[in-house]
Subunit: 336 residues, 2 copies
DNA sequence: CTGAAAGCGCTAACAG
DNA sequence: CTGTTAGCGCTTTCAG
């Protein structure tokens, strides 16, 4: 293995000069920098990560804790993870993958052994058991999602309340008067994950403001459930013309169910969703939707972490504004 | 930060004794072990990962390179990654996540800086540009998938040829005489990924052996493509009664298309698939399938790596035997 | 702008 | 069965 002293000798400088040439932490004359760089190239030098971490107390590794549980749309998690890795690399960091299953002990382990410099935690619950630990940890962290109190933490997520509002307002602008929200599975609400409730709040508030009548329907993600809820909606609310879907796996089956029940989308029924853009585009009738910006959340989470590592203060809460894209599934209300 | 010397002092032993008590690399009397463990607990000691890596030349971290490209079923990748992390933890290792995008330079970087001890590379192409590097690297690696020559490498995957055979043989036993394979998108074949071709080989060979007539149809993953290929099959092969699907996103749409064209599954047409069990179970008509055992592949890959790290020889090729589960989508041929 | 040298915290000979 | 000690390869004062 070629080490820093080899490079130093080869370049005719001291090891510290090589180190500084690499880190840029002190000025180096153009000429010596050239020599050092040449030596590094010629010898194929790579600084030893462990030695670096030991001497500098920085591993340049971030921990990413991903959820496993049911009811989570896997592609979103994956896209998020990829975006975290990609952004971390831009800041010369790597990413260690942890599963939720490891729990608090896992967080403590990677933090206390100095394996990682900082942590990103996905799928935060309102009353997440990891919160006290994350507050106490000597390492910065960013959470995806919002617990009941973000006091002393750094949280980021899509503004789900505003997303719910945006969907309803879009339908309101198109003249719709009665809307329904087909929501996440009941367990998501029970599990006390904030985002589902926020959507409901935004949805209801916006409908009230616009004087629309509205109803909320938590719904299983099973394909059969689509038919059931579609029939129920038609039966109980024949005047319904606008639907907001916040349930990825159900989006396509639900539209199918409506059409099989004789409702044209968007002719008779306008449908909007809160989901990843790729999903909204892939449906047979491309769906007007508020994007779930997993890639952007990942990028922003890393950027927040980098600022914290640099000692800069960052806001406790970052809410990404919703972005609604009109597609084929919404149209002005068909006034008979 | 509490360090090993603190623990040693607290327990009244030498640092090396603490180290050996932790690693078990030499016998420790029951009594001192107790004292050391107590000291560790009382002080909340955690060995510094970097220091350890530096002194032992082992980071206890594995690299996992995941693919990003289109045509790859994301949940399979995620499930695989989770299984790698979970198994690695059983062996006291962590997992560093890399994207394909980083390319050879990324592999070289984490290997040469000693950030990781070993590597797992997914989605290997027949003529993968990373092969020479992986052969040359001073660190063990395991590849998921098979390149043209696995000489000097360690590869593992489902035995896709046998999987193709198993599907056909199942249909043969049920009396079917004419079968079709609806395969992966054309780009998957072009991209020279071995597994798609292996399925074709097994499919064709088994059909020939059983005296069945057979045809192969690469197919886009877009939902619209299902209808197109279904119509084509009915038109060109009216006697067709058995279909093997090797294209996850198309499975459900294809069955829908067949039924919309008036064919009952499995009454008129038996369908089998090569796909994750969860997908096969989630379809409206649960599909008889050969499982894509991503979790098992992940586990086995880590186990292979651990044996290589321990200096044990391992087979160059590991082919996991297919496991076919009968579900509702296949039935004996309906002889008129 | 550059060098010398003291650690960073741990492991693994070596010695007993 | 346990202790002493010399590094592991790099960063970062401290000096110049």
């Amino acid at each position: 293995m070629v080490k820093i002293t080899d490079v130093a000798r080869h370049a005719g400088v001291s090891p510290s000069t090589v180190s500084y040439a690499l880190s840029g932490k002190r000025p180096i004359s153009e000429e010596t920098r050239q020599r050092v760089e040449a030596a590094i190239r010629e010898l194929g030098y790579r600084p030893h990560a462990g030695a670096r971490a030991l001497a500098s107390s920085r591993s340049n590794v971030l921990a990413l804790v991903v959820p496993l549980r049911a009811g989570i749309h896997v592609p979103v998690v994956m896209q998020f993870a990829v975006s975290v890795v990609t952004t971390a690399r831009r800041y010369d960091h790597d990413v260690l993958l942890l599963t939720q299953e490891e729990g608090e002990e896992g967080l403590r382990r990677v933090a206390d052994t100095a394996l990682v410099d900082a942590l990103i935690v996905m799928d935060v619950q309102l009353d997440d058991p990891r919160l006290p630990l994350l507050r106490a940890l000597e390492r910065p962290s960013v959470m995806i999602g919002f617990p009941s109190s973000s006091e002393g933490l750094t949280c980021i997520d899509l503004d789900f309340k505003a997303a719910g509002e945006a969907c309803v307002e879009h339908l309101a602008r198109l003249g719709h008067r009665m809307v329904a929200l087909v929501g996440s599975p009941p367990e998501v609400y029970v599990r006390q994950t904030a985002f589902a409730q926020r959507v409901v709040q935004g949805f209801t508030a916006a409908a009230d403001r616009s004087g629309m009548s509205s109803s909320v329907h938590p719904c299983e993600a099973a394909p059969g459930a689509a038919r059931v809820v579609a029939e129920q909606l038609l039966r109980e609310q024949p005047a319904l013309t606008g639907v907001v879907v916040h349930n990825e796996p159900l989006l396509e089956p639900l539209i199918d169910a409506f059409e099989q029940l004789g409702l044209r989308v968007p002719g008779d029924l306008s449908v909007t969703a809160i989901c990843p853009d790729e999903l909204a585009e892939a449906v047979r009738v491309p769906v007007t939707s508020v994007a779930l910006p997993s890639a952007e959340v990942g990028t922003r989470a890393v950027e927040l972490l980098m600022r914290k590592l640099a000692g800069t203060a960052v806001p406790e809460a970052t809410l990404l504004p919703p972005r609604l894209t009109e597609r084929a599934s919404t149209a002005p209300r068909n006034v008979p």
